[in-house]
């Protein structure tokens, strides 16, 4: 029983690691721009495709593949944000951020179908060997998947350092706190918004490439996971970067532990109940007070 528990815990961390990076991206964009950008799902998919193309046609290895996924998803994220969402944000009548969020759903739909138009509906596998799991004291551990976890935590720490130590990072927090103040200080909000979108979508792209290496990539890769990503981000407080990683891991762990008490076909139920309990106990998310970008 204890072995089971530990095994499911490990499995949950692995699942959580897969959604941690996109959740981090979603949180970052929300922190600076103030709306939930659902097109993070499409950028995750785009990162997956970029990585897949880099790997299968250019025969690149893991690290360059991830860098390409980051750059492609980040650049695509900024361009589409500028074209599709920024004009709506700028209108004084764009009364609620939810309106921009709704349009980002339309943007996501457009991008997903652009992927389908270009690559078809099939699933595409990377040309990378899959490692068998290791057994450590009766617990099965996937080394490749642990890498995902390391990368997610590493990037979260890097971001946290960036926001607390560098001038640019502090400026981004200033924007998040007060636009007018930022402008008084001579910080151009648009450039910072672009930077946040670039990094956020880039993270989603890296997450997408890692996910695609782990499973495969198809036009709906991102959309299948957006609920879970959003949930992880929400549980983490929506504005806390470490919170996003922790929230994603928590969603993964709770989902897998739920298998111990619920039929597997009802697995999402545990995730939902977890969100509900978390939010009822702390209406602003678990990590709302933690460090990182705050409003």
């Amino acid at each position: 029983m204890l072995t089971d528990l530990l095994q499911y815990l490990v499995n949950g961390l692995i699942v959580g690691a897969l959604i941690a990076l996109p959740a981090l991206g979603l949180t970052l964009i929300f922190s600076v721009l103030g709306f939930v950008n659902f097109s993070v799902a499409a950028q995750l998919t785009a990162g997956g495709y970029a990585g897949w193309l880099a790997n299968t046609t250019l025969k690149l290895s893991l690290v360059p593949v991830l860098i390409i996924a980051f750059l492609v998803a980040g650049a695509l994220g900024v361009v589409t944000d500028r074209i599709a969402l920024a004009p709506i944000r700028r209108k004084p009548s764009a009364r609620t951020p939810l309106m921009v969020a709704v349009v980002s759903i339309a943007l996501n739909m457009a991008l997903e179908n652009a992927c389908r138009f270009s690559f078809g509906s099939g699933l595409n596998s990377f040309d990378m060997p899959i490692a068998r799991d290791m057994k450590v004291g009766g617990i099965r551990i996937g080394l490749q998947q642990l890498h995902n976890l390391e990368i997610a935590i590493g990037l979260a720490v890097l971001l946290a350092l960036f926001f607390s130590l560098t001038k640019l990072g502090k400026a981004m927090r200033a924007v998040a706190d007060n636009v007018d103040l930022a402008r008084l200080k001579g910080i151009e909000p648009v450039r910072l918004a672009n930077l946040a979108t670039f990094i956020g979508m880039g993270l989603a792209g890296v997450g997408g490439a890692l996910l695609a290496i782990d499973t495969s990539v198809d036009p709906s890769t991102g959309s299948r996971l957006i609920l879970l990503i959003f949930a992880g981000s929400v549980v983490g407080g929506l504005t806390s970067l470490p919170g996003a990683v922790a929230g994603a891991l928590l969603m993964g762990v709770i989902g897998e532990l739920g298998l111990l008490v619920l039929p597997p076909a009802y697995q999402s139920l545990t995730a939902f109940v977890a969100i509900l309990i978390t939010l009822l106990a702390r209406p602003s998310g678990i990590f709302s007070g933690a460090s990182g970008v705050r409003k």
Binding site: N11, I14, S125, F126, L211, S220, E256, P264
Partner: protein, 403 residues
Amino acid sequence: MSNLARRTFLQAGLGVGGLMLSSSLSRSWAQQGDPIKIGLIIPLTGATSQFGATMAQAAKVAETEINAAGGVRGRPIQIVVEDDQSNPEAAVRAAHKLIDVDKVVAIGGSYASAVTSAIAPLCWDGKTVLLTSSGADSITKLPHDGYIFRTSPTVTLQGTSVGKYAVELGAKKMFFLGPQTPFAQSYIDIISGIFKAAGGTGSGLVYEDKKSSYRSEVDQALKESPDVIVLGGYVPDTSVVLKDLYRAGYSGKKIGFSFGINDALTKAVPAEVSEGAYSLVPSAAENSEAYKRLISKMKRPSLDSYSCQVYDHVVLTSLALARATSGQANGTAVRDNLRAISEGEGKRLDDAAEALKAVVVGGQVNYDGPSGPLEFADNGDVKGVFFRYEQIEGGKLVVRKVG
């Protein structure tokens, strides 16, 4: 700005109106030489869209062959494709368009069971034949008045065949892993029953689809130390399960269905992961040339069963209309003549063009297509289908036996 927007709205509205007007005009001019339209409702976008592309290609091949052979009573056939968006609500809208606007004589494709069940009432109400590749047993139990023909063997029959084949391969302990579908639990029961009768054991687990990892499910399965795992899922989830089985070091047999283990899957996972997995594919008899001819025309090494079925949907409709003595091209004529060209004592032909030419000169024909011999029971279920047992070898599907 608002004026511009209003103008855009108006223009869009006029465009739509104009389009509808022109299509209704062209229909009133319909003459003898106008094409006979055959609708296709297939999954091109959304969760079940893995076969949509090849289904459309296969239908196109059939259209070209029939038209090259002179068409149906001097009229060419025309395929009208609509996307079901993997959603029954969208499929209902698509079916209305095909039946009401295009006046199709038959609708083919129709893959997901929920999509088929949703559009079936429209078809029998609109006296349009529905040729489906769905497997759910419930479909032919609908009061369809003979308008439904199902070219896929029922899921029950497929489950039984998989169970028997697994026993034949020498397996003793079966574990079923599949998503929640109408047939998941009955698969566990049927296949476990077959194993128990053969002195083995069987159990299973029903999981939630759309997940990006099935590690814990795989752990639960491996606890039973099975020597064969039956994969009851579709391509997206089966590919993840296979990878997790590989990571877990599972070395027993894997066997699945053509909707899960197929061409699309071999592209979704590395060769070492899918190596050795078996698949059960409904098919034509072993000596049939139809399948080989179709894949060579499509320039593919192999083709999933569903695309073969869609090809046959188009051919069956065309042959039935060619035989219709009333000379009318409508759904009822397709229904009333379909059995006459696909079963019975007539000459067995597996080439669409050849069969069409024979039907036109009044010959008795029994058409056997790439998807099977195409004989139908009274309720519209296909009978006497053969199964191709395929195995993945170095990332390619290889036929092990036909039976």
